[in-house]
Structure formats: C-alpha cells, structure tokens
C-alpha cells in the first residue's frame, strides 16, 4: 500500500468502524496502522512476516495424506484403506498426495509447498490432549504452562494482538507467562444478550485510587474490545488497491460459519488491511478417524485443500500477503495397520506442511520405514521443534532456542528470508 492508498484506507476504516466502535474508545485500527507501519522494513505497506498456524485436531492420518504409494508394506498393512498408486498425486517416485488434494498439488508444482516427513517427538504420547499440549508447548519431556508462541509474546513484550486465534477458545499455544494472545470470534463480537460494547467499555474505565490489579482487570476489557474492533474494521474495510476486486468472503466455504475457509478469509482481511498481528491460529477438527475412515478423511482433506490452496493463491496477490507463511500440523499420525473397523487408531509421526509465497517447496526429512516400526508405529525422523524453530527463526526473526525451552533446533531451509 502506498501512502495515499493507505490514507484512503484509514479514512474508510474509520467510517466503517461506526459510531459505536468509536464510542468504545481506545486505539483503533487507524492508530495502530499509523504506528505499526512506521519503521518496519523497507516497505511499510507490506509489514513484517506473518505466520498462520493451522491445527488439525484429532490426529491426521499422515500415511493417507502423503501416501507412500510405492511401498508394498503400505498396501499390505491397510488393504481396505490404501490408495492405488495411479490415483495418488505423485510428488516423486515413492510419495504422493491424497487424490483429493489437487490444490496442494498445484502449490507443489509451483514450488510453494514444503512437505516435512516423519515429524514427531521422543516418547510419543497417544492421548489427544497430552500430545496436543506437547506440540503447542513444544515441551515433550515435561508439561509446561506456556505455549511457544506465548513465550515469544513474553520475550518480545508484544501486545495481545500480536497473536490472534480465530478458534472458539484460546489454544495453549498462545498463552505466555506474562502475555496472552487474543481470541476473536468469527462473525462478530460475542457478548451476552443485553451487554453491548459500550457497557464493556464502561467496565474498562480505570478509577482513581484503585489497585493495580483492578486496573489490569479493567484494561483486559479494553484490550478485548480494541482487538475485536481491529479485526471487524479489517473485515469491513475497503480492499487495498493491489488486492484487485476479488470477493473473498463469498468463497465456497464448506462447513459453515466457523469453517477453516471462514477463518482464513478473516486472516486474509486482516493481513491485507495491515492489522499488526504476526501470528494467526486457525484450526480444523474431526481427524480422529477410528472407523470407516476413507470417506470422512477425504472430506476433511478436501476442506483443508480447498481452503488453504485458495488462501495461498490469494496471498500471492498482495505485497502484505506475500509475507505470510502457513504451517499445518496435527497432534499425531495414525497406526500403520488399519483396524477392524476400516479406520486407524492413534499413532505417532506424520507429515507436516509449510506453504506460502516465501516457502521453498520440496520434500524435507526422511519418510519413516513401514517395516522398522516401534510397536506398530512409525519412528519419527524429524523433531517437530526443528520445524517450529525454523519458523521462529525465519518468520518471527527470533532466536529459536529462546522460545523452545533451550532446544537447539536443526533449522531447515523451508522459508526464503530477506525480500
């Protein structure tokens, strides 16, 4: 965005915010934009690099996502569930994407899709909760109270809007010791009936002589309104000139108002409007495919494929969008052998995706053996902290070890840095 466009946009967003939002007080998008784009890199219009973290809840079946189609062990371990080699979308002579992932395949062909193979951690835990905690806190050995993005918020003394979740509840990922990311509901400010933004703003007023703790409590209400307003303004703002006239929110979103596509649409608006958020957290659930896996899993992968490939194509159209990198992970993969219900049970390692205009496409790491198993499960070949560490270093431009509890990540050349 050049200076003139930005000014026009600021005016438009002030108008779109409306009287109620202005009455709520606090800093609005306009003020934040004016400060956030002050000295950040050579072109203030595009802002700093941003990360979009996509969490797949339930444990995605990695072997039917990135399919080892040429391995006889794959076909014999899950005869009813395995894909025919000619149906999968070949990445090389041994691996291919699930047949429904045509959008991912296009990203692969344009070298914007990185596939990290066999990602996991030592002593895998098969509980959804515990394993998800491990991924989000990046601490496999001991439970810790902070997520890795939360620790980055702490370390950079970031304000809450630096990390925003569009999920229904704030994930542990965004919880720091002293800072916590924000949680913004899709589809508008969610307040109890009869309670409006003005009333919340009233609770957010500070009183002379009240304790510091009460002031903090009041401030949290103001923060909540301010960040929500920021996102709503982005949602309703005029599109920046370089975005063209694409109408994004009318995309063929499947799964309703909270679908991954809807979450990503809001991310797009925020990125393009220059909201100073560095990390977005979005999610898709339902991957716990214990029975009759084929149909359900394909439908989920299709949602993932359509939402993410549209998102990445869209990112490429704007300068701000070209600074975005996406990572997709799940708490574990599934067992190599299918169970008796044509499904798969909780497993261990799985593939992880990194994508976006700055991604260096290709395969990373090593596909785990299907015959050298750990009690029926894949042996991880890459520690997930190597991928997250890479993203901390390249996207957030921070020291990986500082936010991975001292873990020395082996960095992967997944993301182009610099311009």
């Amino acid at each position: 965005m050049d200076a003139l466009t930005r000014r026009r946009f600021l005016l438009a967003s002030a108008a779109a915010g409306g009287a109620a939002a202005l009455a709520a007080g606090g800093v609005g998008l306009a003020e934040l934009l004016a400060t956030a784009t002050g000295g950040d890199g050579p072109d203030p219009g595009e802002g700093p690099d941003k990360l979009v973290i996509v969490t797949l809840y339930g444990g995605n079946d990695g072997l039917n996502t990135v399919v080892p189609y040429a391995d006889p062990a794959y076909h014999s371990a899950r005869p009813e569930l395995a894909y025919d080699p000619e149906r999968v979308l070949h990445l090389d002579e041994s691996l291919g994407l699930n047949p429904v992932m045509t959008g991912f395949k296009r990203l692969w062909d344009s070298k914007q899709l990185g596939v990290v193979l066999g990602v996991g951690y030592p002593r895998p835990d098969r509980s959804h909760f515990r394993s998800m905690d491990i991924w989000q806190t990046a601490s496999p050995a001991v439970p810790v109270p902070t997520g890795w993005v939360g620790r980055w918020l702490d370390g950079t003394k970031a304000s809450a809007e630096a990390a925003v979740s569009f999920e229904p509840a704030l994930p542990p990922l965004l919880v720091g010791a002293t800072r916590v990311g924000a949680c913004v509901a899709l589809g508008g400010l969610q307040l109890p009936q009869g309670i409006d933004a003005e009333l919340v703003a009233a609770l957010g007023r500070i009183q002379d002589g009240e304790s510091e703790l009460e002031m903090h409590a009041a401030e949290a209400y103001r923060d909540f309104l301010r960040i929500d307003k920021l996102v709503r303004q982005a949602e309703n703002a005029e599109l920046p000139a370089d975005a063209g006239d694409l109408s994004l929110l009318s995309s063929t979103a499947t799964g309703g108002g909270s679908s991954l596509a809807a979450q990503l649409a809001l991310v797009t608006r925020c990125v393009e409007a220059g909201v100073p958020t560095r990390v977005y957290s979005v999610s898709l659930g339902g991957f716990d495919t214990h029975a009759n896996e084929r149909v359900g899993h394909e439908s989920l992968l299709k949602q993932l494929d359509e939402a993410l490939s549209a998102f990445v194509h869209r990112l490429a159209r704007t300068r701000a969008g070209r600074r975005v990198t996406v990572v997709v992970y799940s708490e574990f993969g599934r067992r190599v052998r299918a169970n008796a219900s044509d499904g798969t049970d909780h497993g261990t390692a799985g593939p992880l995706f990194v994508m976006g205009p700055r991604t260096v496409g290709g395969l990373y790491g090593e596909q785990p053996s299907l015959t050298d198993l750990d009690n029926g499960d894949l042996k991880a070949t890459t520690d997930f902290r190597d991928v997250f560490g890479t993203l901390i270093g390249s996207v957030l431009q921070a020291d990986p070890a500082e936010y991975l509890n001292g873990y020395e990540a082996k960095l992967l050349p997944l993301v182009r840095t610099g311009i």
């Binding site: 835990d125 509980s127 909760f129 515990r130 905690d133 001991v142 439970p143 810790v144 109270p145 809450a160 979740s165 509840a169 704030l170 542990p172 965004l174 919880v175 010791a177 002293t178 800072r179 916590v180 990311g181 924000a182 949680c183 509901a185 969610q190 307040l191 109890p192 009936q193 009869g194 309670i195 009333l199 919340v200 009233a202 609770l203 007023r205 500070i206 009183q207 009240e210 304790s211 510091e212 703790l213 009460e214 002031m215 903090h216 409590a217 009041a218 401030e219 949290a220 209400y221 923060d223 909540f224 960040i227 214990h290 029975a291 169970n339 008796a340 219900s341 499904g343 049970d345």
Partner: protein, 423 residues
C-alpha cells in the same frame, strides 16, 4: 477492622455469602479466624455432596483394546472426569468449612497433578482423598510419594535402577518440599535413585506398587547425609529440613497473601513455626499483621471467582444439566483453571496472568450463564453489593449498574466488574 473480616473470608474460603459476612463481622476477626481454622463438628453442608464412587477404570485389564472397546472406555473416562469435576465444584460450593476446602484446593495446586497426562479419573480421585485425609504435610508427602497419579505424572514408573529418571526427585525438591536453591544437582540425582522401583497399575488407585528388583538399594548421599534412602525415608528426611517449613510458608503466602509481593521474614518465621499442620500454618498466616494490614491484593483464581459467585447466588453444580456443566468446564478452561487439570507441575498461574483479553470475553459469557440460574427479583446496586460481599462499588461500576434495567444484566456487570475480580 470490618473490612479485614471481609478480606479474611474472601481469602480463607471461596467468597462469603451475605449472612456469613454479617455473622463474621459480629463475631470479630479473632473469633472468625478461630472458627475458620478449627470448625466444630462435621461439615453438614459438605455432607450433601458425597464423593462419587467411580468403580474401576475402564482401561483396567484391557491391554489390547479393540477400537470399539477403546472408544467405550474413553467415553466412560470422559463421563468420570466430568463427574469428579462436578462433584468437587459442588462440594466447594456447599461446604460450610470453607477454609478446609480452600486449603484442599491449595494442596491440589501445590502437588499440581493433571488428569490430562494421568488419564485415570480413579487415580485423580484417590490422590485427592489422600491429600484430604492427611493430618499434616509430613504425612501428606509420605502418602503422595507413592501415589499413582503423582508417580505417573512425573514419570516415576520409568525410574528404575538401570534407567533412572529424576523427574519426580527434582520436583520433590524444587516444587513440593524445599524450593530452588536448597539442594544441588547431585542431590536430585541421588534422590532420583532413592525413588526407583515404583510402578502404577490402573486397578490399584490407592498406591503405586513397589518392585524391589527395580530399586537401587545402594547408599545415597543427599544434602550431606549418606544412607540407604528409599522413597519414604527420603521424604521424611526432606520434611525435616528447615527449608521445607519455610518453603511451605512462602507457598501459602503466595496464594493467600500476595502472589507478587514476596513474604517478609517475620511472617515466614511465624507461619513456618506452625509446620507441619497446614491449618495451623494458615491460622498463623491469618493472624499475621502483614496479612491483616490489607495492603496486599490478590487476583481471584477462576475457580474462586466461579465458586464464590455460585455460593452467593445459591447455585449448585449438582443440579447442572450435562450441557451446562460442559459450558462451565469449557469456561473454566478458557479462564485457565480446570480442577484436576493444572497446566504444569508448577501449579496454577497467578495474578495478572488471569486477566487477559481472551479471559475477559470468556468471563462475560460465564457470568451470563450464572446470572441465568440466579433467582433474583428486583435488585439495586446496593443490594447486589451486599449479595456479592463487595464493600463499595467504584463510580465506574456503580454507573454501569445504574444503567442496567434487568436483574440478569445487573448480575453480569457485578460479576465481571474489576472490583469483584480481586480479593
């Protein structure tokens, strides 16, 4: 001094009702401390909330479950987990001996064991019972060092003579008994050897099982003393260290006094002198001048806030539908404090960590849910202050309350007000 009686009740329990506060003000500070810390007779309120009998863990004797068996067992565990959370919230709400219940909640945060890793609700409930029934800290430490939930939580079942795992040993010293700076890395390693040989069995929630063959019976040198330490002699020895009494005193101060102002020397000595009986230590804390001064404020923990509101508005979790319970538990999760599920062995967060923008939204939703259950007719701001044991509203909140026409809206504002979030 009447203000301090209100503070005393807020800190010692989960939010006093109007009648409790009136009675305490009449009795005075000293008599209230005595009544709180040495309640007479059985707790008649708590008797209305008997501990659930869960029966066996569904995964017990199910070494290789089929998919269907696993799904059924997981759903039973989920129901059991809901049951123990509901029960505990209900008990906290109806119990008359509030200081006893609050101290129990403190110990849960102290030994900070989470069902998210332990998995078995039976294990969690057995640990709860052990803490509840321990007459003092020394006995509690002895019971917990072989408690299956704690052992499993801290990988004690992996700790053998041939492959030592020092996780439990480290936390015993750092977080449970001595505090950082009162032991060396060598002490941790040696203590880890003393703790070898315990494994857990889902069929036996009452205790971990000792396997002599996995125990390292050779002498260990811990804090300068060489002996054939085992799990029990180790915790007995640690509990005798002067650092232990002082450490527990500082932890009590952290949750009851201030979580950001460190304990002062005189207060620490006074509380430590009452070691090892938790309630006696608490009494010493309540009688301490620094505490009574009212200089220190605390952010209410989410469970304190919720239970306090339910006590004051006469709402019982026992009567919640399954859906309401789920909403409440998910609200507590959003606020960062689900009973039986501390985020880490370090215990619950504290202070301003509870006051973030995401929690602000969740709190408004929970306040709305509670307000929907409260049976209140026309009520004004003054009457609401009385119900919620708030001395006076700030102008800010008073003005907001004045605008509220419906009782439900009035309640939401009161419960969400900054002054109601601190104690």
């Amino acid at each position: 001094m009447s203000d301090n009686v209100a503070m005393l009740l807020r800190r010692a329990g989960f939010g006093p009702t109007a009648s409790e506060l009136a009675a305490a003000k009449k009795a005075g500070y000293a008599a209230t401390v005595a009544r709180l810390t040495a309640p007479s007779g059985p707790d008649r309120g708590a008797a209305a909330a008997p501990m659930p009998d869960l029966g066996r863990d569904p995964f017990d004797n199910l070494p290789n479950p089929t998919t269907e068996q696993r799904a059924a067992a997981e759903s039973t565990r989920k129901a059991h987990t809901d049951a123990i959370i509901r029960w505990w919230l209900d008990r906290l709400t109806v119990a008359d001996h509030q200081a006893t219940e609050k101290l129990m909640f403190f110990w849960h945060g102290h030994w900070a064991t989470s069902i998210r890793k332990v998995g078995s609700p039976q294990f969690m409930l057995a640990q709860h019972q052990k803490i509840r029934e321990s007459p003092n800290f020394k006995v509690m430490a002895r019971r917990l060092v072989s408690d299956p939930a704690l052992v499993y939580w801290l990988d004690g079942q992996l700790n053998t003579k041939d492959a030592p795992n020092e996780n439990l040993a480290r936390e015993l010293m750092e977080l449970f008994m001595l505090g950082i700076g009162h032991y060396s890395e060598r002490d941790v390693k040696e203590a880890g050897r003393a703790l070898t040989g315990w494994r857990t069995d889902l069929g036996v929630p009452s205790t971990a099982i000792y396997f002599p063959a996995d125990h390292d019976a050779a002498p260990k040198t811990i804090l300068g003393r060489t002996a054939n330490f085992d799990a029990y002699t180790l915790v007995d020895f640690l509990a005798k260290q002067p650092a232990c009494a002082r450490f527990i005193a500082s932890r009590l101060w952290f949750r009851y006094g201030s979580s950001h102002e460190p304990i002062i020397d005189a207060t620490q000595k006074r509380i430590a002198a009452a070691f090892p009986v938790g309630m006696q230590m608490l009494r010493a804390l309540f009688e301490d001048e620094e505490f009574r001064s009212g200089r220190h404020r605390l952010v209410k923990q989410p469970v304190e806030w919720l239970v306090g509101a339910m006590r004051q508005l006469n709402i019982r979790p026992a009567h919640f539908s399954q859906k309401t319970l789920s909403q409440v538990v998910s609200g507590l999760n959003g606020l960062g404090q689900v009973p039986f599920a501390p985020q880490s062995v370090g215990g619950w967060p504290s202070g301003t960590a509870w006051l973030n923008s995401a929690a602000a939204q969740v709190r408004l939703g929970l306040a709305d849910l509670l307000a929907g259950f409260a049976e209140v007719d026309g009520m004004n701001a003054e009457e609401l202050a009385n119900v919620l044991a708030i001395e006076t509203w700030t102008n800010r909140t008073y003005l907001a309350l004045k605008q509220a026409k419906e009782p439900r809206k009035l309640l939401i504002i009161g419960l969400a007000s900054p002054e109601y979030l601190v104690s």
